[in-house]
Symmetry: C2
Subunit: 203 residues, 2 copies
């Protein structure tokens, strides 16, 4: 059996630049796997079942939740999105590391199931910089911005429950993505993940 | 007060290429501090007290050990070598990280005093490769080589007590040193070391 991979959880307030950083991390570390999520949202044109998402109806999704077959899930704009445990297990058993981008609250849920998951919170340096970023986009009302900031405040209070904190400073996407890659490579060298190498010494 | 630094412990069987890797790590990461050790060995020409070593007599050294003023110490060729706690504390309080190269057995001793020290064991991939390396030097008798291998076997059994294991494959000094630097940078982002950054978000 291949040495199993480990789970990397990336989270953080939205508006923290998570999406951009994640894209760079995947480019820098193409060997890391992403899981295909399940969703109740209808497929868009060109989307294929099992490639972009596993498309399923609400009943089927809720049944999986009830059977505890979801590693984590969330409801967004009236649709469910979740990571099937089966999918995560298949990837980890194949020896690949798996990266999951989840809501901040989902970390505790995942840590219960995978105590050796590596969790990284990506946070903006200050609430003020986050406000400027959100206002700068010009796509959201002042009220929405304040709501998101209030939510970020709650989320950052959960930061000490994460293993690592990476501060995403303006214009430092590259440095930020590199730092996340370093954390993942460092975690690969944890003594508890090196039992094969320790054994190999004696052969 | 500056954010305190943390202690990085590097260890591993001798003949594992530790010295060469350490030199590269220090070149790649000049901001990390080395502590000046204390020794009972007489100063060599050009050596200065407080620069290469703190030179002291046997009584003074043993008194420091008795007063528990040494972070760790060892006896080599009839002379004591040790790290004064005072010296380590001064560096860490100044906000610098401190790297210590110690004997494998010293790790447990240091973990008791500094539970958040980061320990890295540098090990050769196999006992056979280690044998070839030692024989290749041509400076040691077959008997000495076998003694060192026997000792290495005992030392590698202590590997699971380290935080990280880095395998030093032949001709991979650079990769090895880079990996150690990555571990140190990753450890700087541990949530427990980021409390200042978490607080700063709310200001």
């Amino acid at each position: 059996m291949a040495k199993p991979g480990f789970l990397v959880v990336i989270s953080g307030p939205s508006g923290g630049g998570k999406g951009t950083v994640m894209r760079r991390v995947r480019e820098m570390m193409p060997e890391i796997a992403l899981s295909v999520s399940a969703t109740t949202r209808p497929p868009r044109e060109g989307e294929e079942d099992g490639r972009e998402y596993y498309f399923m109806d609400r009943d089927a999704f809720e049944e999986m939740v009830a059977r505890e077959e979801m590693l984590e899930y969330t409801c967004y704009c009236g649709n469910y999105y979740g990571t099937p445990k089966r999918e995560a297990r298949r990837i980890l058993e194949s020896g690949k590391n798996l990266i999951l981008e989840i809501e901040v609250e989902g970390n505790a849920q995942i840590k219960r199931l995978y105590p050796d998951a590596v969790s990284i919170m990506l946070m903006p340096p200050t609430i003020e910089e986050m406000r400027q970023r959100l206002l700068g986009r010009g796509t959201e009302s002042l009220e929405t911005v304040e709501k998101r900031l209030a939510r970020a405040r709650e989320e950052i209070r959960l930061a000490p429950g994460y293993d690592y904190i990476v501060v995403n400073r303006r214009d430092e996407i590259e440095a930020c993505a590199r730092h996340i890659c370093e954390i993942i490579r460092a975690e690969s060298a944890r003594a508890c993940r090196m039992t094969d190498e320790i054994e190999a010494f004696f052969i």
